[in-house]
């Protein structure tokens, strides 16, 4: 034993170091274990829970949109999706199943097999094979179900608009949410969700959407939840993991989805249909309001579109065409999102304001020679009646739409008074209707002119009496929407109160605060507007005589908004020769004062030439229909009901 060169003492000392190393190592490990498992346990527990438990969202049904009589404007139809759960199909049948599916649904079998291969570690994953299959495909799948183990059909809600084009612009449409919006509505939406884009769907998105529910599911490391549904779309809890172990105790429904609230609209759907039919083949808009409450009975705009093409498969071509923004734009609601010069319709406001301010009385007369000059010199403004109206009071001026009378009135009144009353009624401002995309219109005033011409010389910024003259007959820079004109009309016939137009039937209109026009004022104005439609005594009927309805007191006012100067029109011999896009816009505002509910309506026909010929007959038909229709509504409803509920 020559190799025991170390003494026992030195050996002990050297071994002590090794023992020390062992003890140090063990201590380090235990200390680290303590820090992880005891000190920081809560942090790691939470991380493990986040790993494992994952809330699976259950989408809430979107609320329906109805009218007050129960007609469904938008609801959800079931869309059948074909899913495949590889775990329910023995591996030897994969190929057979894929080939059968190829025959039945025309899906390439290699793609299906590829999908199965991708999910081979989580056999209980639902693989979506095809979305929104047709009814005949569904039946064929059911017939062949014995050949298709693991194939299920789940049902997902899909938006549907049963009436198609009717009220399509009001309802709006849904579309898949974009990435940017996902960030905007942080956490409320998920990829693949639909969100309202226009119309009611957009404005009442929060009400219609509902609250999503969620169930907790156990998540595998790959992040795919193991979820299953039965063939009716109800969620089944996970029964097994990939090796067949029970996982039930970990998965429970935490919160049921809260479906979106149904929304009832004030629309009168038959009136709406009629209005849209009346506008066929011409561009324009019709607004019908309840003059007292502001409830909207109809908003028609032509051309329009069928919102179904945004939510139904296989309508890509139509969708593309719509979104290409071709003229005329079918997606614009002309009643609220376009503004036009109001033309003679504006005279109603001017007459009422002048009477209210005391600038004129009902007896005040002006002489109309057919043209007008400020101070007898300078530029000449024409009356539409070449030879003039002679001596007119405000009544005749309204009935026969005398321009010269209102030039005088406008000058006497001044721009400040006009804009004050426009503001009171809501002209040139958003009316606050519950639809997105409303434009305010424009009523020019001194500040506006100074602002718009700020970069120009001082004399351009100044407001001149000529501007007032232009404004007096609703020309110049003045622009309103059909809805605003309807609101103006409603204010005249409801006793002088500002109204707030709305579509939601649950909306409670605010109490009228102030009477804008006194009773006497309104009486005078109404007489004038009545004379416009029907003869009173010896006075012959005015420009709106085509709007007369037997047995109903209709008041109205025509308007022809020039978009080209009169000089330009003189180039053409007859009116028919004027190119379509240069013709005047035809307006007609009307109201009914002796029936309940009082309706106020506004008809706009783009390039319709004359309100008296193009717009007034339409108003006549609307009023006639509204008050004289036969009560066949109920019969129609009964016939309609099954189609709405069980079709498809």
């Amino acid at each position: 034993m020559n190799n025991n060169h170390l003494s026992q003492k030195e050996l002990l000392y050297r071994f002590t170091l090794v023992i020390f190393i062992v003890l140090i190592s063990i201590s380090i490990l235990i200390f680290r274990l303590w820090t992880i498992q005891v000190r920081d346990v809560e942090i790691y527990r939470e991380k493990a829970e986040n790993n494992r438990i994952w809330p699976q969202r259950i989408k809430a049904d979107r609320g329906k949109i109805l009218t007050r009589d129960g007609t469904i404007l938008a609801d959800n139809r079931p869309s059948a999706d074909v899913i495949f759960v590889p775990g329910d199909c023995p591996a030897v049948y994969y190929k057979n199943t894929a080939e059968t599916l190829e025959n039945l649904l025309n899906i390439p079998s290699f793609w299906i097999l590829e999908q199965i291969e991708n999910f081979n570690t989580e056999p209980f994953t639902q693989i979506t094979i095809k979305r929104d299959i047709s009814r005949s495909d569904w039946i064929r799948l059911e017939e062949n179900s014995f050949q298709l183990p693991g194939i299920y059909i789940t049902v997902q809600p899909q938006r549907r608009y049963p009436l198609g084009n009717t009220a399509g612009l009001i309802i709006g449409y849904l579309n898949e949410i974009t990435k940017e919006e996902l960030g905007l509505y942080d956490g409320k939406y998920y990829t693949g969700d639909f969100i309202g884009r226009t119309g009611i769907e957009r404005y009442y998105e929060n009400i219609l959407k509902g609250t999503d529910g969620y169930m907790t599911v156990t998540k595998y490391a790959s992040g795919r939840p193991q979820l299953r549904t039965d063939r009716y779309g109800n969620l089944l809890l996970v029964r097994k993991d990939t090796r067949g172990h029970l996982l039930t105790e970990e998965t429970e429904l935490r919160q049921r989805p809260l479906p979106g609230r149904n929304l009832t609209l004030t629309l009168d759907i038959e009136l709406q249909k009629l209005c849209e039919n009346l506008l066929t083949n011409q561009q324009g808009a019709i607004v019908v309001l309840d003059a007292d409450t502001g409830a909207v009975f109809a908003i028609a705009s032509n051309p329009n579109y069928d919102p179904n093409i945004f939510v139904t498969k296989g309508k890509d071509a139509e969708r593309l065409e719509l979104l290409q923004n071709k003229q005329p734009n079918r997606m614009i609601n002309r009643a609220i999102s376009e503004q036009y010069p109001p033309g003679s319709v504006f005279k109603v406001l001017l007459a009422a304001t002048a009477l209210e301010k005391g600038v004129i009385t009902s007896k005040t007369t002006f002489f109309c020679p057919g043209s007008f000059k400020i101070g007898g010199t300078g530029r000449e403004w024409k009356c539409w009646q070449k030879y003039g109206h002679g001596m007119v009071t405000v009544r005749e001026a309204l009935a026969y739409s005398c321009d010269v009378f209102f030039y005088n009135v406008g000058l006497k009144l001044g721009v400040d008074n006009i804009s004050e009353y426009c503001h009171k009624i809501g002209l040139g401002e958003k009316t606050g209707i519950d639809l997105p995309g409303e434009v305010p219109g424009l009523i020019p005033n001194r500040e506006w002119k100074a602002k718009i011409n700020a970069h120009k010389p001082v004399w351009e910024q100044k407001w001149y009496p000529g501007d007032t003259v232009n404004l007096s007959i609703g020309q110049g820079s003045c622009a309103t929407t059909p809805l605003q004109n309807a609101v103006l009309m409603a204010t005249i016939i409801n006793g002088g109160h500002r109204i707030f137009p709305h579509l939601n039937a649950d909306f409670i209109p605010p109490k009228p605060e102030e009477q804008i026009f006194s009773k006497n004022t309104l009486e005078t104005v109404i007489t004038g507007m009545r004379l416009c439609v029907e003869p009173i005594g010896e006075a012959r009927a005015g420009t709106g005589k085509l709007a007369k309805v037997e047995g109903i007191t209709v008041i109205g006012k025509t308007g022809s908004a020039q978009i080209m100067s009169l000089e330009h029109h003189k180039k053409y011999k007859t009116e028919e020769e004027i190119p379509w896009e240069m013709r005047d816009h035809a307006w007609f505002v009307a109201g009914v004062i002796d029936r309940q509910p009082k309706i106020a309506l506004c008809v706009l026909i783009e390039h319709g030439h004359h309100g008296s010929s193009a717009a007034a007959p339409i108003a006549q038909q609307i009023i006639n229909f509204f008050y004289n229709r036969e009560s066949k509504k109920d019969i129609q409803l009964i016939a309609k009901e099954p189609i709405g509920e069980f079709d498809n």
Binding site: L17, V18, V38, A48
Partner: protein
């Protein structure tokens, strides 16, 4: 002529190594050298390993569990067989084993089978043999033989340096496989055995410091890279590591930076251990493992599974059990009757210590992932047999009479 050259020219004859010619090479009576305490500790660890493997393999239909038990009962006769052999013969044959292992390592480099991107296996029929595992034991044997031969000449610098050539060649060969963990494990084995062999203190301290500085330098170099650069195959000039190995070192420094990639294992392992808490989630109730969040949960990260299911107290107890196991080994080494026996036991103990410490440290996110198994708990048949062999060799060393269970019969 130095004595090492003499040995190379005239290989030692085995008969001369055994002083008493009447001793049988294999004698069943040596079985009473089996230390009951160490055997009991080993058996407890093995049973814990089975129980744990039962839980770990529930996703795989218990196939690993059955194989894990089987290998223990295959290894047990092997252990007793090694105990009955006179250990001096094994140590005397170490140079041949060393040459054999070098040729095996060369073979595996040239003809090895790819497994997880590294060449480590030699397929022999249906079995796959991992030469780098048995190599650790052979290094220990060779060093024991070498230190036993040169005796106190180890205090002289040339003999001291020669040690590093003996252990350096296999390190380089294993490193080229590349098997980072095994290659690194040889360094502490060499250092501790040099220490026990009686080298000079300043030699030892200088070498250790130099090694630590080298390791620190490597870490600094690796840390200066970015994951993208590493994936593109970039590496420090002196460190020809494969991208996945560099990533392992890199993610050690930046574990949170790359949660889904290389740091995923460590991150999930820490969550697994931490979520166990003081009392654990209960046997076979570990959610992290069952839902496949913890990768390699039956091999390298088996401790995480144990800690998750059994909690802090039992996990600490397991670590203490390993500590007692190691201390008992060292105790046997201390009472071995000659230096080469002491050296062999110490070397084997350090193999165990290295595996236990590095493995558990990795699961707790203290070290980069290198792929070292945990003795008796991890699934891995080559390594399990190596452990059993190591314990067999520990038992085969006779102890002095002064010590209870000395095992001195012949």
């Amino acid at each position: 002529m130095s004595s090492i050259e003499q040995y190379i020219i005239h290989p030692p004859k085995i008969q001369f190594e055994i002083e008493d010619s009447s001793i049988h090479i294999i004698d069943w009576r040596r079985l009473n050298r089996v230390d009951p305490i160490l055997f009991l500790l080993m058996f407890i660890l093995a049973i814990l390993g089975w129980v744990n493997m039962y839980s770990a393999s529930q996703n795989e239909g218990y196939s690993y569990f059955i194989k894990h038990i089987t290998i223990f009962f295959i290894g047990l006769p092997f252990l007793f067989f090694l105990t009955t052999i006179d250990y001096r013969i094994i140590i005397a044959s170490a140079p041949f084993l060393y040459a054999l292992s070098l040729s095996l390592l060369t073979t595996v480099l040239l003809f090895g089978v790819q497994a997880k991107g590294s060449e480590r296996w030699i397929p022999i029929g249906p079995l796959r043999f991992q030469p780098s595992e048995i190599n650790k034991i052979i290094i220990v044997l060779t060093l024991s033989w070498y230190f036993g031969k040169i005796g106190d000449k180890i205090k002289r610098l040339p003999w001291y340096i020669l040690t590093f050539f003996i252990s350096g060649i296999p390190i380089i060969l294993i490193f080229m496989q590349p098997n980072l963990g095994t290659a690194m494990s040889i360094a502490p084995i060499t250092m501790i055995m040099l220490w026990i062999a009686g080298c000079r203190l300043w030699h030892w301290i200088a070498t250790t410091l130099a090694g630590l500085i080298l390791v620190g330098f490597i870490f600094f170099q690796v840390n200066s890279l970015t994951p993208e650069k590493i994936q593109a195959g970039e590496h420090p000039d002196f460190l020809p590591l494969k991208p996945h190995q560099l990533m392992r070192i890199y993610t050690f420094f930046n574990p949170e930076a790359d949660v889904q990639g290389g740091g995923w294992q460590t991150y999930q392992s820490r969550i697994t251990i931490g979520s166990g808490g003081i009392h654990g989630k209960g046997f076979r109730q570990g959610t992290q493992t069952r839902l496949k969040y913890l990768p390699e949960h039956h091999t390298d990260f088996i401790f995480s599974l144990f800690a998750e299911e059994h909690g802090f107290y039992k996990s600490a107890l397991l670590i203490i059990l390993y500590g007692l196991f190691l201390l008992r080994c060292l105790q046997l080494a201390l009472y071995a009757n000659e230096l080469k026996g002491k050296l062999m036991i110490t070397g084997i103990t350090i193999i165990f210590l290295f595996h236990i410490f590095i493995n558990i440290a990795i699961t707790m996110g203290m070290l980069p992932v290198t792929g070292l198994p945990l003795p008796f708990l991890s699934y891995g048949r080559s390594f399990y047999l190596t452990c059993m062999a190591g314990i067999g060799l520990i038992f085969s060393v006779p102890r002095e009479k002064s010590y209870l269970f000395s095992g001195q019969v012949l």
